[in-house]
Amino acid sequence: MDSMIKISRKYFSLLFLLSFITLPLFAYNSTLIEKYEIDKNENVQPGLYSNIMNPAFYSFIGVEDNSIYKVSYLNEDRAFYRLYDAKSLNSNNISFSALKNLDSKSLLIASIYFSDSYYNDVYNSLEKDHYNTYYAFTDTTTGSFHYSGPQIAFTYSRNMLKYLYWGTDLHYGIETGLKDVYTQSESIFTNTDISTGFGLTNKDKTLFIGSFLRYISYQGKYESVKEYHDAITLMYFGYHLFGWENPGSTVTKSEYIDGINFGVNFYKKSLIFQDLNLLFSYIDGEQYSVIKAGSSSKPITRGATAIREKSFLFALDYSPEESRFSHSFVYEYSTKSDWAKSGLYDVLILENEESSQTFSLDESVKLGEKLKLRAATLQNVKSLDYKEYNFVFSNKVDLYSQITLMEIQYKLNALIELKAGFQLSSEELDYHWNSTKKNGLQYLLGVERLSPWGIIGINLKAEKQTFDAVSGNNKVYFTELYLR
């Protein structure tokens, strides 16, 4: 026992030392990477894996071989939206993900995901997400964009030694976009995401203490071209001040992002009593980006941004297999601090401080062999403190949002299972909107059927969104067909 403790301490301190010694720490914030899904035991909280972000954890928790094929379609029709948002959105997605236990100690997960989206009637902006960048590229026309591209992901996780787990994660994605009218901006985004993690466990495998390091690299390039006259584009510096780029045959914008996440995890099975599972997770990261624009031969640095993000998560889950009840509770506290500077001079053009607290509770109860009820709620308070110095603008506000879900699952027979539910949501909006609050009502309908090839399922979601003091509403329809 003493020798075991000594070994554990040795690896523990080695792990921590390696984690701390390294390297620049940057946060990860990408709109490209979609977390691939693993078909999990229904009692395991779905968000657990993404909250941990440590690839070593997969071989610790143990998941059976499975695969899932999925095709989905999303349609959003907006009567009310921010100035630079699309008026409507259509997205077709297809994905495949497979988990295979290579042996008793290791597993491999491979996923491929392809997205084909149309963002229709976007006013001036050439950005896929105008409000996610401080240096937005725009032109002078309203047009529609077509984005498409694949993403692939591989995860390898292994029980290296008796008490040591190791895993690595690799994601790569590429996406291209094209505007249908002048300036017919073409865009191309590539994203590389590599992480590696370690974890230590105890003799009875009820404890996981882990750490991971993750590096991301992102490049985005936009190219606007002339039609009969020179391409005329603008660059925003913040959300108010802009400058005209020199008109030319081709005007480009490039963005380069590098970032690293570091995190530590603590997971304990059966903490005080059987099946009470506890998770602590701390993630810290920094990210730096450089933005250039102008002619393709002589681009000029327009600015740079830096982001520091921290997240602390605490989760409790109690879902015994023999019990009718299942409970889970999650609390997350996160902070984000970012700033942007001028490209040519060493001055700060804006800074932003955010903090967020999220509470979520998820309760399920089985009524007999066929019926299961689920109720969940998520409450979030976000504090924003945004200041622009090049325009003299500031916005300090606390925003509250909540989601409440009610769901029924019913086993019609040995082959077919039905699911129905609804979700109420409300979200206070920031200064980009001409409304203070958004309310949503979503209906969900799902069917699963056991077949010779696996479980075939279909999910349908329909949501109506309304806005305070605004007439008209937004409609969202989502359809998903899968085989697992």
Binding site: S19, E286, L348
Partner: protein, 365 residues
């Protein structure tokens, strides 16, 4: 031992911040201090220009022009500015003795231009003004080169406007008009007015007169007998002169408009210049040997223009210190004209400004 390892590791981690350093200075706190002066060459005096209007403008950002008035010490301070390069222009009046009666004073309009660059310009920036109408004579006053709005690449409505800013009549006889590249050594096109250079008196330009030199002297607003219309274009059918290459048999020739003809052997094309970046030059015609370039002493006026702020300067600074036209857009109907008729500080960056439409035979307000 383990305790110490963990402690050291914690200290290393907690002290680390690998992000690039956040700037200490916030934008919006930049100050510019301008002193306007006038150097009187005849008397050698340097005067402070008080009550002068000073304007700041920026190429980098779409911000309104900022203005101020100099005080009694010729100074004006601008504060709370966005940190960027500013173009400074000064317009004022100085009282100087009248040349024929030193006891009486006349008001002399003065203009001055400069650039203020953060980090380069320190403390006070002095702008030296010059009186308008310096170096009077024949000037290239306006260049209309980009073409009117159209979707079939039509830019044959180009013209150049000359202006006589002198108090005496000037003569176009034998003068040459050139398109240059990379310097005075390199002539791309050379066309000559009829008559004897330097001594001819057949083609006068009176003081204050505008002269239009058309690429094709026709009505470009209505093309092909009215089937195609370009409302943003110009009617050059009554131009004063027309560039006509007698070796270009397809070149348009208005019989009612006198021609400026090509004199380069083997050149068979019309006088067409680049829509957004070129050099044009007017010389007195004393040097017609274009093979070794144009003598600088024969240059009457020269203008370099480019739409790009990162353009590499072509012509020698002795004939034009800068280049005008930054921001010109092809097929926009824009034109490039001097800020005042005939105003020439030998720097097209400041002497010219973009106007939204051409102004034939008059100057924009």
């Amino acid at each position: 031992m383990v305790k110490y390892v963990l402690l050291i590791a914690f200290l290393i981690f907690s002290s680390c911040d690998y992000l690039p350093q956040k700037p200490e200075m916030e934008d919006g706190n930049y100050s510019i201090n301008i002193i306007a002066k006038y150097a009187d060459i005849s008397s050698g005096d340097t005067l402070l220009v008080d009550s002068a209007s000073v304007y700041l403008s920026s190429y980098d950002f779409d911000i309104p022009e900022i203005s101020g008035i100099t005080d009694d010490s010729g100074q004006v301070v601008f504060t709370n500015l966005i940190t960027t390069e500013y173009n400074v222009s000064v317009k004022g009046i100085v009282k100087r003795p009248f040349i024929n009666n030193p006891d009486s004073l006349i008001n002399l309009s003065v203009l001055g231009y400069g650039n203020v660059i953060p980090g380069v310009s320190e403390g006070v920036d002095t702008i030296y003004t010059i009186s308008s109408g310096a170096e009077p004579g024949l000037k290239i006053n306006e260049l209309y080169t980009v073409g009117s709005p159209n979707n079939f690449f039509y830019f044959f409505d180009q013209y150049i406007e000359l202006y006589n800013s002198a108090d005496e009549t000037k003569y176009l006889d034998g003068m040459i008009f050139c398109r240059m590249s990379y310097g005075l050594c390199c002539v791309t096109y050379i066309f000559q007015f009829p008559g004897e250079p330097l001594i001819g008196r057949e083609y006068p330009v009176e003081p204050g007169e505008f002269v239009i030199l058309a690429g094709d002297a026709m009505n470009h607003i209505t093309l092909e007998s009215g089937t195609i219309k370009l409302p943003g274009s110009v009617d050059l059918s009554e131009a004063d002169w027309e560039f006509k290459n007698s070796k270009d048999y397809g070149d348009w020739d208005n019989p009612d408009v006198p021609n400026i003809d090509n004199i380069e052997v083997g050149h068979t094309r019309d006088f067409l210049i680049s829509l957004t970046s070129d050099v044009v030059l007017l010389a007195d015609g004393s040097d017609l040997n274009y093979l070794d370039g144009i003598d600088v002493e024969s240059v009457v006026d020269c203008v370099e223009y480019s739409s790009s702020s990162t353009h590499t300067k072509d012509i020698e600074t002795s004939v034009d210190q800068g280049y005008g036209g930054i921001g010109l857009s092809k097929y926009s109907g824009q034109s490039l004209e001097r800020i005042e008729p005939g105003f020439d500080s030998n720097n097209s960056t400041y002497d010219f400004e973009i106007i939204e439409a051409p102004t034939l035979w008059y100057h924009h307000e």
